[in-house]
Symmetry: D2
Subunit: 228 residues, 4 copies
């Protein structure tokens, strides 16, 4: 399990297959190999990668447990090839938890939907102070509604988008790589980039050869433009 | 355009095909028909429906413009066979708008994720009062953050789930019927049922024969269990 | 590995998850359980099943190796939620293999796209004889084209639909159950029913509780209408 | 309707939306525009294209009627984001029709799954002669099986992959562009490239600005490597 954004996390619960599965699927021949990934396998993997033969990469599967702010989860769930199960606020009013940024960023002036650099110390402290106060207030309001007998499915409408959400999320390697390309891109919001980076680390021990190819491509394509 | 939940709405922007498209697709023969839907077509449509031959129903397409509370949009977007485009709060801080329920419902005691009946007059007034006050406060806090130079993509985390969201949403008739079955079900939250009911009215002039079959099925399956 | 249709087969190469994964996903809580599937888990599984909460069933994944006649593979690949990798006849001209039915069935007179009963002994022998002769001829023709230097991607057009095709096919449990409902249905062609039956046997040790629920539903819905 | 491969064809039966739909969807604002596509719209379309914002392109839909050889249809149906309805050979034994290549290509020696250049005149004539004879024979065999009372779903197994198949096929512009990129690629089989080229011509009057961007990209990426 890796901590992300302070009180968030991502955990690789289960996986199916590895680098060998990909080349075996491409060859439609299983059982011939065991243990080591040979130079011949490596060459085939690179061929599949370079020629964008994506279907064998669909044969490897990953299931994650995620805790992330609602605004991150919303971006995530726009990916329609994943399977999701999420703790519903229709179901429970317990364990409310919120994301508080360590750093507040400035509105970018060129790209209307991006941020750029950090606001000054005074603005940082002010924003954090304001968010804490507001979160404290809304928690009181939420509990008030629940105690008044209002149903959870309506009371939850007061809950903000820095509310932490827990979900199970599953996809295959091919669609995961697509997710990573989009969510590690410099235009992606910094918060979801943090989850994408964690995913790379979590799956690297499972598919090390594929991640090598991915990292090489990434260096070439968007390299040091990434936010640190 | 139909108003839903007060300041929300749904509009059928465009569509492709009609009842005839379905039977033509099933027969793989276009151009033979024009104008009227014959008794023979009707019989074939019923056969396709009764035998769950869903693929011809995929040939009819609908595009909607929707304004709905965030918690409704989140339920909607769990349907992964739709296409969506949404106004992003990374992009704009203008035109904030919120949903205020006319009626507050009680927590159901049997079904942990449902509501049942209405809370009493005192609780109604209290909840509405509380929601208004809270919404006023958060709007002030949000604008404060924006004016402090905080990027929109971070400032939006304060925005709650009764925030109205605008989106374009497109799907085919087969997947739309699946959406309607789930979202008109008595277990669905009342607010999304309102949008589902509006959809039935909007598409009925386009595919009247299909909607006849749908309504007949609905009466049989979950009829008067529906919330009014 | 299970033999199907004589020289065909299906093999469960790999899987991810089991009955426990489903209820854990529904609860969004892993690690709390180990080993035995408790009565409480069983109750939750049945609740999910009865209420058609299909998303937790998406969290279990199966990968099969399949060898089947082309006409079966074509029906299979109409299922668009699976991942497939197939031995392409653009790539190889080796290892041609064909399906020869043990039994030839009569054209159904009611259902235009079904069969019903068996043709008489004379017709059986005649059809088998004809198919053998024809297959022998086409193999000669195919090899003739290949030896003339014609590209495999064109020469293959002579290959018939009883040609055996090898593929890797992967899907999740929810979509697999949908496949099984359609392909075990009495209207499905007998040959693909054979593969569907084999799948039930192959996955039963992995998700025994789910298969119990599936078999109960099947008895009720289409029970003895199934072809033996 | 455009003829492809002699007796094959492709026809754009219906469509929904145009270039304007794409930019309207991106802006989530309909009704503001009518008639002409302005320079501002063009600029936004190019921005969406260059930044791979594909979701607004999903809002335009196309439905085609296709007649193509089975081996082409099989490649086509590997695209799982399309909707298909196909004339089933379980259903009818009428109107058998076959593809006869005008030109026979050589097996490529570098790329195991490609062709390259044409075989000589003698091999051309031989292959055509052989295919005609074989097709004539199999038609006799097929009709013999049907007349013996064998069900169509079994008799069809004798039908080869140059059999012409009729289908309805529907997809959105974003997924159609993906199809075109793969099927206009020099590695795609020449026969399916012919259908892809016909699609470009058929949709150009509907989305002329998008096709301009597509053609520009194509020149740059795989330009004159394409087979003529």
């Amino acid at each position: 399990m890796m901590n992300v954004l302070g009180n968030g996390y991502i955990n690789l619960v289960d996986s199916m297959g590895d680098d060998l599965t990909i080349v075996n699927a491409a060859r439609k021949s299983f059982g011939k190999h065991s243990g080591d990934f040979s130079p011949k396998d490596k060459k085939l993997l690179k061929y599949l990668w370079d020629n964008k033969h994506t279907s064998p990469f669909e044969m490897v599967e990953f299931m994650f447990e995620v805790k992330a702010p609602l605004f991150v989860v919303r971006q995530w769930q726009r990916h329609r090839t994943w399977s999701y199960n999420e703790v519903s606020r229709r179901y429970t009013s317990d364990d409310l938890d919120f994301y508080f940024p360590e750093t507040w960023r400035c509105q970018d002036t060129d790209n209307k939907q991006a941020s750029s650099g950090e606001v000054n110390k005074v603005a940082q402290d002010h924003a954090t102070h304001v968010l804490w106060g507001h979160t404290k207030n809304l928690t009181v309001v939420y509990e008030d509604l629940i105690e008044s007998g209002i149903c959870r499915e309506q009371a939850r409408m007061i809950l903000p988008q820095n509310m932490m959400v827990e979900m199970v999320a599953k996809t295959d390697l091919s669609n995961l790589l697509h997710f990573l390309r989009l969510r590690l891109h410099k235009h992606a919001q910094w918060e979801i980039q943090e989850y994408a980076k964690a995913i790379v680390e979590l799956i690297e021990p499972v598919v090390p050869e594929t991640i090598k190819l991915f990292k090489k491509e990434s260096e070439f394509n968007y390299g040091n433009e990434h936010k640190p």
